[in-house]
């Protein structure tokens, strides 16, 4: 898609999403830096308390709708970063906004065996109730190995 096309598409999006776009875009950049600079235990602490992999968190329909909107904004912003914002920075950015919004969420890390070279592929995704916030497109084929739940919503 041409740049003009992208700008038109962006302008056509709901204003709330456009308002959030710049902060989320910046967050994705910060997430990228955090990923390379911070030790994982610190990031894990930020993500939440450890939960059983494959666990879910309960969320009201209203909460899920808000989480879904946040997810759409994060995913859209991720498409527009000049660097690759894959599942992990998206999760970090989404978690920050979800925490600020006091919404329940779970971040799940999963593995899958790569058919081509028997190596392991890793993925992470964020859910709120049944709603997938980000990373969800492929989450079904990955085996959950670790999960972090929002602190205020841990069981």
């Amino acid at each position: 898609m041409s740049l003009i096309g992208k700008v038109r598409l962006f302008a056509a999006k709901p204003s709330a999403m456009r308002l959030w776009f710049v902060p989320v875009w910046c967050l994705l950049g910060l997430a990228r830096i955090a990923k390379s600079m911070l030790p994982f235990p610190q990031i894990a602490g930020y993500l939440g308390t450890t939960a059983n992999p494959g666990a879910t968190v309960s969320a009201t329909p209203g909460q899920q709708a808000r989480a879904a909107r946040i997810g759409r904004t994060v995913r859209m912003a991720a498409r527009h970063t000049p660097w690759t914002s894959d599942c992990y920075p998206q999760a970090l950015a989404a978690v920050l906004i979800l925490r600020l919004s006091r919404l329940p969420y779970i971040v799940t890390f999963g593995l899958q065996r790569d058919e081509r070279d028997s190596d392991m592929l890793a993925h992470c995704w964020v859910t709120s109730g049944e709603t997938i916030v980000c990373g969800g497109a492929e989450s079904a084929v990955f085996r959950p190995v670790a999960a972090f739940i929002s602190r205020r919503h841990r069981p």
Binding site: P39, F40, I43, M120, A122, R143
Partner: protein, 98 residues
């Protein structure tokens, strides 16, 4: 190899797996994520049995005794392989020795 064995063999302390690590089964292997490291680990073969046994504290000798009774392997090989495996686990903070 012998030196590694000595380090474990002379040790009467109890070994157990890090309770923070949750292993899940995948195609007959065990996989887990170390939060401490932000890394993933896979365990296969006899390692899965060792991991299973280490849910309870074991001394090195007790561990080897159980393995030797379950697997058709010489005592020497068993000790050497177990010691090497435990070294990997220890290096990645996957076991606790107390």
């Amino acid at each position: 190899m012998e030196q590694i064995e000595q380090a474990w063999a002379g040790n009467v302390r109890m070994i157990r797996r890090n309770p923070d690590l949750l292993a899940v089964e995948m195609d007959g292997d065990l996989v887990m994520m170390s939060v401490e490291r932000g890394e993933y680990f896979g365990v296969s073969g006899i390692g899965t049995r060792i991991w299973e046994l280490l849910e309870q504290p074991h001394s090195f000798d007790a561990l080897v005794d159980t393995l030797c009774s379950e697997y058709e392997v010489s005592d020497e090989t068993c000790r050497a392989d177990a010691a090497g495996f435990l070294d990997h686990l220890a290096a990645n903070a996957m076991i606790l020795v107390e």
